[in-house]
Symmetry: C2
Subunit: 341 residues, 2 copies
């Protein structure tokens, strides 16, 4: 990368720069595959652990990928669509939970400690919710560029893997809208209970998304205009962080439905912009399984979690670390003097 | 427990002592459930992590279950049924892999390091394979009692959780036979490729199990006589360790198909002898999914692993640790000043 992605004066400028982002290192992947074949185990018997080690090799550009520093970032935003009654929790919970993250009391704090991730929280204008997407754009072009740049800026260049999560009352509705705009189907296909909506709450979510899809029909063929239509700032920041990580060949662990739906808008761009991303878990939110199918990805975990905050990514990091420990630490058949089949 | 389970002069004596094993601590479980409800997250949103924390509370007998010491034991044995050509690897691989475990070069060494488990390996007369179960008993009553006692003796009383694994060329055939004897169906229902059998190898496995099921038809209604019929020593040791852990209220992480099939024979005993056991993963071996259904248990992971050695249990330990970190470390709504729904 000669030119950093951000700041970018316009989406047009940003699009031009994306064409220069690097692809996978096929030679490193091939060397990692050869190593796996020689380790003291039946070929393929570590299953997904082998795939994860090879993906890490492919993006880190070495047959011995490592995680010295795992960086976790939770982006927090507020959403104008809450005016449509889409969430049972009051909107001030977003700022209260940010305080809880900073005080170390939330699930993500404990889960990052358990798997050895360094956590930071990025608040995105919590006192200025995005526009209500049933009434107009959630974000202007300038606001979108700003949120993308904040996401990109959060990445620390010495991270060996980036974990992404989010917090924002109402953002399961935004996620469902983004998924609907990106992959089609009906609003109802993508809507679930989120933090705990009842039947009527779910109907309000569906109605809001249907209204937004109708209002913004002309914007939905493209990743960035889709983000302008529905927001939110934390979703845009996730996209910015995914792109910044791609520029530095840093693999990414996406959390559950909301995080994956945010990143999934990038599937509309050329160049397979999610190839360096691992989906951490199948959340209980029903849209996540559908997203995985559209993305052609398999999640690492399926634990019925539906909390967000990056919680699933933090648990999946433990599996990723295990995959690399096995890959790097095991003896080969020759080293151990073990007979092959 | 007033009387230790082992040594036991006979299976009849052992059966009597099993009647005194403790059950779950319902009060501790209830207190743990109450705690989960008050933590700063939507109720139930940590999914299986909540269930795991509650199970740990139930067996450790405290609403704040902990893992200070995680003990992993790999039991290794050899099997007379290898004479029937049921495995593509030569039988000396068992002793070679034990040496690899001791030298620190196997997958289980790396995976235990990654999740913080202390690993030990227990060899069970590797130079004296069990009887070929197609020709006669795999184990006499005395041999079975000895293997059970070795399993029980391996448990360190200060362990907070016990991870169980196995190594033994040919033992996926033994596992399939135990599962067939315990839960019925056909031999083909329970047989898979194991470490890498081709179609003809699988047919030899099926034929061996069918011959054994016919020969030992009179022994298959009971946990212990089933173990005498098919063995092997490592399977019996796993059962001994599961029972010893139950006596001390230590939760157990069972590995994949072979380990779960071994422990599953205990489902024939009164008193739900597997209630303190967590199945770590759905292995690629097709019988594992069927075992889980019969046991009414859900696995923690589904990573397409099929290595054995306790490898899946070591990865699942990371998830279990995450579950307890969240359970013990999170702030309550009241502590954090976060509004409820």
């Amino acid at each position: 990368m000669t030119k950093p992605l951000f700041p970018a004066a316009s989406l047009a400028t940003l699009r031009t720069r994306l064409a220069d982002l690097p692809g996978p290192d096929e030679a490193a992947a091939a060397a990692a595959i050869t190593r796996q074949t020689n380790l003291t185990k039946p070929p393929g018997s570590l299953g997904r652990l082998e795939d994860l080690a090879i993906l890490m090799a492919e993006w880190q550009g070495t047959d011995r990928p490592r995680i010295r520093k795992a960086q976790a970032v939770v982006f927090a935003g507020n959403h104008g669509v809450c005016a449509q009654g889409v969430n049972p929790y009051p909107q001030e919970v977003t700022v209260q939970m940010v305080a809880n993250f900073r005080a170390g009391g939330a699930a993500i704090n404990q889960l990052c400690r358990a798997s050895g991730a360094e956590l930071s929280v990025v608040e995105l204008e919590l006192d200025r919710p995005t526009g209500d997407f049933t009434q107009g754009l959630a974000l202007s072009e300038a606001e979108l560029l700003n949120a993308l740049a904040h996401g990109a800026a959060a990445l620390e260049p010495d991270a060996d893997v980036l974990l992404l999560g989010e917090m924002g009352i109402g953002n399961s509705t935004v996620a469902a809208a983004l998924a609907n705009a990106t992959f089609g189907g009906t609003a109802a296909d993508w809507v679930g209970p989120g933090t705990g909506s009842d039947h009527e709450g779910i109907q309000r979510k569906i109605a809001a998304i249907e209204a937004g899809m109708k209002l913004h029909a002309g914007l939905l063929g493209d990743a960035f205009t889709t983000l302008m239509a529905f927001g939110g700032r934390e979703q845009a920041a996730i996209c910015g962080a995914v792109l910044a990580a791609r520029a530095k060949r840093i693999p990414v662990l996406l959390d559950g439905f909301i995080c994956t739906a945010a990143a999934a808008v990038l599937a509309r761009l050329p160049g397979d912009m999610l190839a360096h991303c691992i989906v951490s878990h199948v959340s209980a939110e029903p849209g996540q399984r559908r997203l995985l199918k559209h993305l052609g990805k398999q999640a690492v975990l399926d634990l019925g979690m539906r909390l967000g905050e990056g919680s699933g990514a933090a648990v999946a990091l433990g599996v990723l670390r295990a995959a690399l420990e096995a890959h790097n630490g095991m003896a080969t058949f020759a080293e151990a003097g073990v007979s092959g089949a």
